[in-house]
Amino acid sequence: MFYVKQLEHEIVLTPVHFGPKLKATIVRLLKEEVEGLALANYGYVVNVIEVPEDQIKSGIIEYDSGDVVFTVKYTALLLRPFINEVLDAVVTQCNALGFFAFCGPLRIFVSKHSMPEEMFNGFDGSKDAWISDDKEVVISSGCGVRLRIKGRTVEQGNITAIGTIKDNYLGQIDDGETMES
């Protein structure tokens, strides 16, 4: 789920940057450092929406390095997977154990145990695709699937999730060819 939240971040600046454009530099550095990062509790920072420059307070000089630490408040657009949330994701890879799908930066693994029964044994190694018993549904790389998040693993700077398509209205929603339209 996307949501907007105000967050804080510490920026360490070397004296080089001190000058009239200090705040602009801080904002730029903040974006560089934070965007794309996965914060354990908040999810991925998709975008830094706003950095109120008036809220950038004066920094604190560190003794040993001479660098200055600024604490910056910013508003960010976050993407956080919630358990039981239903997402649309794009399949990127299929293997014998299931498939990986991406929802933006979030990688979701759907195990074969989390697929409908008719797909449980449906992995076709030659096509790298999961095919249901009646050959109706073919999930392969590039497909869009609707899935439900079942679990979430937070690692350093990265979040991965486990999903399921074993439920009503879940599963393939796009065969990948008409994605663009």
Binding site: T14, P15, V16, H17, T25, R28, L29, E32, I83, T92, Q93, N95, A96, L97, G98, F100, R107, F109, S111, H113, S114, I149, K150, G151, R152, T153, A161, I162, T164
Partner: protein
């Protein structure tokens, strides 16, 4: 037991006393006798093992004899002895023995064969001694009290407490025990001799299993010296050793009876074969002893040197004797390692009859002898013998009587078979060995040993073979044991631990989940997760342990605590209930191996820990870069992708995986890998940890992280790959560096992408504006501008804020130079003088203006930073300057004559938009394929080279190529000497002879006439098979070779090293084979 080995000595001893003198003073003689005893008992214990194979019947007989003799011996002595002296000694003896007696009786229960003790002292004795000591007090007590006291005393005495005047004897005992431990001095001290009977008792006591703990020192004191009797070794025939000993013993007895004892101390049949040893102080006595004994070769008599005497008596820790119904293993032949059951022990344990599952190859019978001989070397599989089967082969097995088993058996090819088992008489030691504790019969072996189908066996008559039954019962026992240990742990707590999330599975609150707060034997306290749940204010609910179970949800990261997969970690992908199981089973996708395993939830625990599985073996870990030995090439390296219990799976630098043992690895190269730098297809530097996209080859399109690198091979790791733990191998030139992390990190001078870097890239000033260390300079070729080393070229190997360390090209020397005094002239591959002028790619007006300043003194090399940052400018992602590409662009954009001063052209140079369209960072523009070595051959007006461009561009199949043509970039990489071309005007073929500076070339036509052409006037000739070709693009650019065959779009060529290469066909240019 103990008496066994020694008993004949004891008997013998009495008579063999060298200084035997019955008429001596009693005290003397008895002490003498005791001394003898001391010595003999000691030998007894050593001889014990040697003679342990005596038949027990014989033993008993001996024992009886001994005793009789002993009695006989002692009787006259006692008669002669002065009664006064004798008595106190006896009392003492009795007192002492009362203790030992009790103990001995206890022992008897276990040993069962030492009636000796019992006969010496009857228990009443003991009791009497105790209460007579308390005579006076006893008088005053009534019967009851006396009875109680007596019992108490008895008990005390048993426990070793002394009372009353027994104190003294107890002290003696203590002293003796002390002595016994300290000592075992061979020279028996007098005080011990005084208590002869006691010490004898004591040693009898010792032998069965008494304290055998000798210190090294006390051991040393046991070593024979010159004052001890010597050994003479006499040969006899093998296997007759014991017989000889018995004969000599009998002879001794006989002689002693006649009153002229032999002067020997003992005869030993030690472990050596065909030898016996006679112990004596004098040689003549030995000669006399062996004289007339049949089977002894008297002339072989030889004195054993003192230092070898211990060797004679050394007891090789004897394998425990084989017993009936024991499991053994075969050690020879086809049956080697097979489990066998001992049916009978023969020849006093030297041989035994075993039952084993046959390994018969019936098909051998039909083969001609020479083939059979070969086949016979192959170990046939285990298979039960079936007489019908043999009969159907046209052979007959006959029923024959097996003497040892006392049963009729099938007899076939000189072997007995019963109930399908092979019955074989084998030598213990050489043919079989007992199953040890380390190597007990396994379940599998027992199952194979067990014969289940006894129905169709005519011998069995319905009941199972005895051996099979034993196997079956052992099997049951084992499986029982396993069942117990398996069940033992699980149900008691269901694997619950405090802090676990549990789910209520029974009762009113079924389905409730909560955190386990406390846990005792039967009940657990759970704090519900659902805060809204009102439980009467307690906050915790108590359940029976059986009412809750561990709750593991899909998606949790767990660790397996127990069982087969212990210590694996992974993510739960499914939780399901299997039939017939009370527990839930979770399917866990493991972190390390990316496999799915099924584990009971009770064995799981939520954990954030990520195990790497078996992560190290013999010092090697998963993902280590290792050097492989063996297997052809000397420089084979690989990355460990699996660490097994005994071996590794390694993916080598060719992408082939193989299993290797730790011994085959010749060390790690991780540090080398971490230091290594490789270049991607665009010439970007790549290091370990960088992420890359694979641009070509079988892994094309994949994104991965560089885990390890070895030379030009990258071991890439991708989380989404399952095989080889996500490792695959790609050539560095087939990859494109991706991701912004890397660029922003190394791109301190990267003015192209972020304004952040502008201070440096705008060259505002020399070091003044330099906040970070500018690593961009490291590795560059620089020219020193001033100072002692002015004019020298060198590579920067280190850079600080103010200085750079330059490794001079021309001298083996590193010099420190002030930063301002170096000018970048090229990358680490060499210098290019034009570098400073060839800086066309600034991406915006700001940069352009900076460039415009190139002609100014500031640019003239005095500002190294600018030069250092240059490479970044051109592509916004490309930090290494590539001469080829550079020239290309320059030529393309300048639309002037190459090499001219380009400063005036700057403003016409590709607009920022143009640059952006190029998409350098993400896709490879075609011109990046160019070999750097070809940069010297421009010379044609690029504006007119469009046709040629298009031709190449299309063949590159890269989207970016479109932009190449748009920018009128020419791609005439093939336009070089020796290349075969076709004139577009008249389709005549020609060969380029010489390239001129103005991008024209002299071509030689078929008729040997020459002509000067421009690049657009000729076209390349597509090579055919067997032609000599030059690779003009791709990873193998520059390679010349013979085109072997064309397969679709790929071509296979053989290069000068006879190696075969597969190259895209469009990347080949035909060349002439000569010169």
């Amino acid at each position: 037991m103990s008496a066994r080995g020694g008993k004949f000595f004891r008997g013998g001893k009495k008579f063999l006393r060298p200084v035997a003198n019955d008429d001596d003073d009693d005290e003397e003689s008895s002490s003498e006798e005791e001394e003898e005893e001391e010595v003999s008992t000691k030998q007894k214990s050593t001889a014990n093992a040697n003679l342990s194979s005596d038949d027990s019947d014989e033993d008993d007989d001996d024992e009886d004899d001994d005793e009789e003799e002993e009695e006989e011996e002692e009787a006259p002595k006692k008669r002669k002895a002065a009664q006064a002296e004798e008595r106190p000694k006896k009392t003492k003896k009795a007192k002492m023995s009362s203790f030992f007696d009790e103990e001995a009786e206890d022992d008897d229960d276990e040993e069962g064969d030492d009636e000796v003790y019992g006969t010496h002292h009857d228990p009443d004795d003991v009791v009497r001694k105790h209460y007579t000591a308390d005579d006076i007090r006893k008088e005053q007590m009534d019967e009851e009290a006396r009875e109680i006291m007596r019992q108490q005393d008895l008990r005390r005495s048993r426990m070793g407490y002394g009372i009353g005047n027994q104190e003294r004897s107890v002290q003696e005992m203590a002293k003796e025990i002390e002595d016994r431990h300290r000592m075992q001095n061979r020279r028996v001290d007098r005080s011990v001799l005084d208590r002869g009977a006691v010490s004898r008792q004591r040693f009898d006591e010792d032998a069965p299993g008494g304290p055998e703990v000798y210190t090294a020192v006390s051991q040393q004191s046991l070593v024979p010296s010159v004052s001890d009797p010597s050994f003479w070794m006499i040969s006899c025939s093998n296997g007759k050793e014991q017989e000889m000993v018995f004969q000599i013993m009998n002879k001794c007895v006989a002689h002693a009876r006649q009153g002229r004892p032999l002067g020997i101390c003992g005869v030993i049949a030690a472990q050596s074969k065909g030898r016996i040893y006679v112990e004596s102080f004098s040689e003549p006595a030995v000669v006399e002893a062996i004289e007339g004994v049949r089977g002894l070769l008297q002339y072989t008599m030889k004195l054993v040197p003192i230092k070898d005497m211990t060797t004679v008596m050394t007891v090789v820790p004897k394998k425990k004797p084989v017993k009936k119904n024991e499991w053994v293993r075969m050690t020879r032949g086809h049956y080697k390692g097979d489990l066998a059951l001992v049916l009978d022990v023969r020849d006093s344990g030297l041989k035994c009859v075993v039952q084993v599952v046959p390994r018969l190859d019936l098909s051998l019978l039909d083969l001609p002898p020479e083939q059979a001989r070969v086949r016979r070397k192959i170990k046939p599989p285990q298979k039960f013998f079936n007489p019908q089967e043999v009969a159907s082969m046209g052979r007959q097995s006959i029923r024959q009587y097996h003497r040892a088993l006392d049963a009729h058996c099938d007899f076939f090819e000189n072997n007995f078979y019963r109930d399908g088992y092979l019955i074989k008489e084998v030598t213990v030691g050489s043919m079989i060995k007992p199953t040890t504790d380390e190597n007990p019969p396994s379940l599998d072996e027992l199952q194979r040993f067990r014969r289940k189908s006894s129905k169709d066996d005519r011998d069995s008559d319905g009941d199972e073979n005895e051996g099979s039954k034993i196997a079956a019962s052992l099997l049951d026992e084992l499986s029982d044991l396993q069942g117990k240990t398996g069940l033992g742990k699980a149900p008691e707590s269901g694997g619950l631990l405090i802090g676990d999330t549990v789910e209520v599975i029974e009762g009113d609150l079924v389905g409730m989940r909560g955190k386990l707060m406390s846990l005792d034997q039967t009940t657990v306290k759970v704090k519900p997760n659902d805060k809204s749940l009102d439980l009467g204010g307690t906050g915790e609910v108590e359940f029976l342990a059986s009412q809750v179970r561990k709750f593991i949800a899909v998606g949790h990261h767990v660790k397996v605590m127990d069982g087969r997969y212990a210590n694996e970690t992974g993510t739960v992908v499914a939780v399901e209930k299997l039939d017939g199981e009370t527990d839930l089973t979770a399917v866990v996708l493991t972190d390390a191996t990316r496999k799915e395993i099924s584990v009971r939830t009770s064995q799981l625990r939520e954990s954030a820990e990520v195990s790497v599985g078996q992560n190290s073996l013999a010092g090697y870990e998963l993902f280590d870069l290792v050097v492989l030995s063996g297997g052809g090439s000397a420089n084979e390296v690989g990355v460990i992708v699996r660490v097994g219990l005994e071996d590794f799976t390694v993916v080598n630098n060719h992408g082939i995986n193989r299993d290797v043992r730790p011994e085959e690895l010749r060390g790690k190269r991780n540090t080398m890998s971490n230091r290594a730098v490789a270049l991607d297809v665009q010439g970007n530097q790549m290091r370990c940890g960088d992420s890359v996209n694979v641009a070509e080859g079988p892994h094309k399109g994949k994104a991965a992280t560089i885990k390890r690198m070895s030379r030009a091979q990258l071991f890439l790791y991708s989380q989404t790959r399952l095989e080889h733990a996500g490792i695959f191998v790609v050539r560095s030139r087939s990859c494109v560096l991706s991701g912004s992390r890397n660029q922003s990190r190394t791109g301190a001078g990267d003015g192209g992408s972020t304004p952040f870097a502008t201070p440096q890239s705008q060259s505002r000033g020399p070091a003044g504006g330099r906040g970070k260390r500018d690593d961009a300079l490291v590795g560059k070729t620089v020219r020193i501008q001033a100072g002692q080393w002015k004019g020298y070229l060198g590579a920067v190997c280190d850079a600080t804020a103010t200085h750079v360390q330059v490794e001079l090209h021309s001298r083996l020397k590193k010099v420190m130079v002030i930063r301002e005094r170096v000018a970048v002239v090229g990358d680490k591959f060499g210098a290019t003088e034009d570098m400073s002028q060839n800086d066309p790619n600034s991406q915006n007006t700001a940069a352009a203006s900076a460039y415009a300043a190139a002609a100014t003194p500031m640019h003239g090399g005095a500002t190294p930073m600018h030069g250092g940052a240059t490479p970044m400018h051109e592509s916004g992602g490309d930090e290494v300057w590539r001469p080829g590409a550079m020239d290309e662009e320059q030529v393309a954009d300048n639309s002037g004559v190459w090499g001219a001063d380009t400063s005036s052209e700057k403003n016409t140079f590709g607009s920022p938009a143009n640059d952006a369209d190029d998409g350098w960072g993400s896709s490879q523009a075609g011109n990046t394929w160019q070999p750097s070595g070809e940069k010297q051959e421009p010379g044609v007006d690029p504006n007119q080279s469009a046709p040629a461009d298009n031709q190449i561009a299309v063949k590159h199949e890269e989207p970016a190529m479109a932009t190449d043509t748009d920018t009128n970039n020419n791609n005439d990489v093939w336009f070089m000497e020796r290349v075969c071309v076709q004139l577009k005007s008249d389709e005549r073929s020609a060969v380029i002879k010489e390239i001129n500076a103005d991008k024209t070339a002299v071509v030689e036509l078929d008729d040997r006439s020459t002509q000067t052409v421009r690049v657009d006037e000729v076209s390349r000739v597509n090579p055919k098979e067997k032609d000599m070709v030059l690779v003009i693009g791709g990873a193998d650019v520059g390679v010349e070779g013979e085109l072997v065959c064309i397969d679709g779009t790929d071509a296979i060529l053989k290069d000068s090293n006879e190696d075969f290469k597969i190259v895209d066909f469009v990347l080949l240019a035909k060349i002439t084979s000569d010169n």
